[in-house]
Symmetry: C2
């Protein structure tokens, strides 16, 4: 009954060796020498009933154990309120970053009810303490129009907020509850050097003091807002006092994009419901009908460089703590222009060179391509065909249209491959159309021509190509973010997962590589970044508070643990390491206010612990080096065995202690 | 600029056709005829730097788009408080079922603050309203010792609860906050015909009225409890009045398993801390030291069939709403016996035939195998070597040990392949040992012999084989649930994902197929079931309340929508369909109490909608046919654009309406 002598694989060495620089799919130097003629592979494929195409796709996308994905996809999580990181091409869900929703796994929002990122991100004048959000459009920070791997921003479509994730430690550091908007959809998109994170409202809100107005006064009292949230270049935080908004008519401002290179300094916002439909009543049709009556809605062209100057000149009002350029000022100062766009458009995406602004028609089976050169000229020439009802000048569509490319039913979103091609998703047709841009993007042969129709599985929303919305796309992979999965996975109860599909777009025609029916999250938009742009830390300097990224004043070293009663508080200075808490006994009397300051004094990578308190909503995660303070009132008599909820060592089960809340006078 | 004529792939037909009965990895009839001699596959593999083994593994585990996984793994989610479903062998995360934690994606816990599964699952006498949990051990319901696909139970290790998931719709229907225990770790394991879901406390709790006692009285006043929660055979719900508990000494009862076949009628609970360590103080060492002093702890052998009779005979006390067999009654009635087990064991797992009870030593580099035949004989013969300090009779270890098999450092958990082999995880050695069972399991040649040492990547916890804890394991695949990932994925900030590894155990020696560094959840235990055992619904009968699985009294049909004011409430009877709510305008006055009853009147599969209310913690998900009621007070003046957060149709963006909360007297 002895263990046979065998050599244990030295993973650290083998893994590390293979891994170094091995961006699978990019380099391929480690040629297998035991593949033979491939006959064995064909036999394996055959035995599993794989077609040749399926076998080839598997080999083209697999990332074997110990090797790495060259790309990470940062995908929004819809009304799960989070960000997901998915490896490309392996399509493995590697991490979930909670942004707006409380998350007991990370302890996010479970440290205390009165402190932390979430409460500070819920403006008490606007809403109750919010513990959910609806993330749609992540925006990686950029330098010179390329992802720089510093920060990530994402909108809360539900509640008019932006969350900021620090890519130094992949944690949410700030939620900014933006004044004057109740929803946020047009963004987040950052300016090419991350001066601003932009978001605009999808539904307007009354500009009355109490945020209420009857729908009869919709045209007069409801307004949209384009929000330019200034980014601190050191911390990545959004700075309210340096931010500004532009008041907009109460159309539904939909998606947005930032100009770049040729169109730098401009922002573009789609809209729908120029009809001002307010919904079904005895005399009105539902919004889906009422808002789809007119032939055109309005592309909003915003000159944000000019807006900055207007703000600097003080031509603003203060509204709920933010500087606002009133609509009439925006008009008179030439900040805001409209261009008609075919009905109820959805995506607006600027080509890598910045020359083309591509509008997906949604109810128009085409994309309309505007030229920034022609837009600038029209504005300069004051070539307007009147104004809308609020006085915003309208540029004639004919004056700025470079092309109107018929694609098929339900165009939604466009990405670019950096080789002169655009890829546009068709929601109704369940397909992606590959088509060419025009001369301003370097395409002279067959400009604005449909090249391929790539079928996808059901109702695609967004699509993502590495860097596909930057000045430098990497046209290698493309992910289709499909909204319905139906028969792509067995029944999993009434709610099917969404279904992501990975395509090889190096190949002509593009070939499907794999699909990922993904449970628990609904990605809307996603951005794909080369992993080599990212360089997070893995162990904090001792006693770091992730919120400030500085040493916590409550950091505690080994041997300094203590319980101090002062100023009406019981301050517990505790350390945490494999496999015990110090102190292990915390005796208090019911009603006492506790502040427990925990420092994980581990220095080993991955040595994360948690502090979980049964029968309380208290669960703090402590990464190596991290200090966290949790504050609560011991309002319940009892003996509670707090413990580490993270499987941390062989003695993990023994890693617990006692919070002893004695009755008064005991 | 016309779309080239091209034939759109007819996915429904192709997908459906390929899929019918195509359990990939089980059958393989669809032999690829364009694989040629496989030379192309070798070339693809070579171009990506894959070794032959890597290429073979990829082809052995891939599940191509449109084909299905033959197995689903139901994995716990640790302190995320949820259950994950992962396809095997594709290792794709297909679904997340929230159990104990609020989840805005599904709307779970966001419908109202005063109703629903979560509040009813928080015993107000024991804890505050809990919105998190720590899921460890899922238990699929069984019939005759096999998974039957009806229900799933999982423990909340943190708070002493069990959650019940209905596999008819994959939703949590009940949380049972079990009296008298503050934690829950020994389970959930169900009896072979799902009569009971068992869980025991991991840390004892004072049996004082207020749940508090100083640690000086630990031996006298703290107690563990073995909880036998009766399962209603129609609904799957746990029925408190038919359940019972057995009082136990204040050892830390760790993992548990149910006897089956030869050992049917018995339950087995490991324990540690027979030393009664209460943690570091001026005179005591930390628990990790204090609880590891003795050479032996005690395996608890419980005769639950006999316990049922004792309960029926009324030899119980009522304690906080549950029938309890006091410790002394359990002793005198012969319900509870102890067997010494090497120090601080972790897993106890009964072999498929029920003959062997395998204890993983954790601090002992071996598994100890007890024979149920020998245990029964020792009990019958009253072959005891005295009692513990509480009077529990102790069976001599020598009288019942069939084997003591040396495996290596840190044995934790064991699974079976149905072919006479056991697989035991070694946490410290980062390996899995394949070894043989003995004669009672049909192994006559080389019994209790180590066959293979299978290296894994860092600190494995549990492992899972399809049916690996039932009477009928399917020894095809094995998943290692590794706690640390380190270099298996690039840096993702200080917290690394866990890392699941898939092995082909049809092959000798077992071969690694793939790895899944999994973010956002920490699986502890997992069970793998053949998908053909599952048959969930996809569309509810019209107006179904998932909580009751019956027609809701508030179900509303098209044309019957209305707003009714009565009894101090505003009752809104609403319908939801692509792409509008009816009514679309809900005008109320601040302070009014609303009950909004929403019925999704869709009948199409996958046509899920949500009802999301900005600036409120209200987000309800409505699957086709479902009726949900949300209740809240309109305590905030404003115009709020509620909307569907689920991308449901081309007109999804237009699917919203207005909740208009006017000020009083407006």
């Amino acid at each position: 009954m002895k263990i046979p002598a065998m050599k244990r694989r030295d993973f650290l060495k083998v893994g590390g060796g293979v891994v170094a620089g091995a961006a699978v799919g990019i380099t391929g130097t480690n040629v297998g020498n035991n593949l033979g003629a491939g006959g064995e592979l064909a036999a394996v494929a055959s035995s599993r009933g794989l077609t040749g195409a399926e076998a080839r796709a598997a080999l083209t996308s697999v990332v074997p154990p110990g090797k790495y994905d060259p790309f990470f996809m940062f995908a929004s999580g819809g009304h799960s309120g989070q960000i997901s990181i998915i490896g490309i091409p392996s399509m493995r869900l590697l991490k979930i970053i909670p942004v707006f929703s409380r998350d007991s796994f990370s302890g996010y929002g479970f440290g205390t009810d009165v402190d932390g990122v979430i409460p500070r991100g819920s403006d008490p004048t606007k809403s109750n303490l919010l513990s959910w959000g609806d993330t749609h459009h992540p925006a990686l920070s950029e330098t010179e129009g390329r992802y720089d791997g510093r920060w990530l921003y994402v909108n809360d479509r539900a509640n008019g907020r932006i969350g900021m994730v620090d890519l130094a430690d992949y944690k949410t550091k700030q939620i900014y509850d933006i004044p004057n908007i109740g929803s946020a959809h047009g963004g987040v998109f950052v300016t090419p050097d991350s001066e601003y994170a932009h978001v605009s409202s999808i539904t307007p809100r009354p500009i009355t003091d109490n945020g209420y107005a009857p729908l009869e006064s919709y045209a007069d009292l409801y307004r949209g807002f384009s929000s330019w949230c200034a980014i601190d270049q050191t911390t990545g935080h959004l700075v309210p006092e340096k931010s500004f908004q532009i008041e907009l008519p109460p159309y539904n401002q939909d998606l947005a994009d930032m100009g770049k290179l040729a169109s730098a300094g401009y922002g573009f916002l789609n809209s729908f419901n120029a009809e001002l439909s307010v919904g079904m009543s005895h005399k009105n049709p539902p919004i889906e009908i009422g808002a789809a009556k007119n032939k055109y809605d309005y592309l909003h062209v915003i000159d944000w460089k000019k807006a900055e100057k207007v703000v600097a000149a003080g031509k603003i009002i203060m509204r709920n703590g933010i500087r606002v350029i009133p609509l009439q000022v925006a008009i008179s100062e030439g900040i805001l222009h409209f261009i008609p766009e075919p009905k109820n458009p959805h995506g607006v995406e600027v080509s890598p060179d910045g020359n083309y602004i591509v509008i997906a028609g949604k109810l128009d089976p085409a994309v309309t391509v505007y030229s920034i050169t022609m837009i600038k000229k029209a504005i300069e020439d004051k070539n307007f065909e009147g104004t809308d009802r609020y006085g915003v000048p309208i540029i004639p569509i004919t004056a700025v249209t470079a092309a109107h490319v018929e694609l098929g039913a339900g165009p939604l979103h466009t990405q670019y491959d950096g080789k002169g091609n655009a890829y546009t998703s068709l929601f109704i047709d369940s397909a992606i159309i590959k088509w060419t841009l025009g001369p301003d993007a370097g395409v002279t042969e067959k400009p604005f021509t449909v090249l391929e129709k790539i079928p996808v599985h059901y109702n695609i929303g967004h699509l993502a190509i590495p860097g596909g919305d930057t000045v430098a796309p990497v046209g290698t992979y493309m992910v289709a973010l499909n909204k319905w999965s139906l028969d792509q996975v067995q029944k999993l109860g009434p709610q099917h997962p969404v279904n992501l599909e990975l395509f090889d777009i190096n190949h002509t025609p593009p070939r499907v590589l794999s699909s990922l029916p993904l449970g628990g999250s609904e990605p809307h938009y996603a951005q794909i970044i080369s992993v080599d742009r990212l360089n997070p830390l893995t162990v904090y300097p001792p006693g770091t508070s992730p919120e400030t990224m500085a040493k916590s004043e409550f950091a505690t070293a080994s041997g300094q643990e203590r319980i101090v009663r002062a100023d009406g508080f019981v301050d517990v200075y505790a350390t945490v390491m494999r496999s015990h808490f110090t102190p292990e006994q915390i005796p208090v009397t019911v009603g006492e206010k506790l502040r427990i300051h925990l420092t994980n004094i581990e220095t080993a990578e991955n040595a994360t612990h948690t502090f979980a308190v049964p029968n309380h909503n208290l669960q703090a995660t402590l990464d190596p080096g991290e200090t966290v303070s949790v504050e609560f009132t011991a309002d319940r008599v009892g003996s509670f065995a707090f413990y580490c909820a993270q499987f941390c060592s062989a003695m993990h089960m023994e890693m617990y202690g006692w919070l002893l809340v004695a009755p008064a006078g005991a």
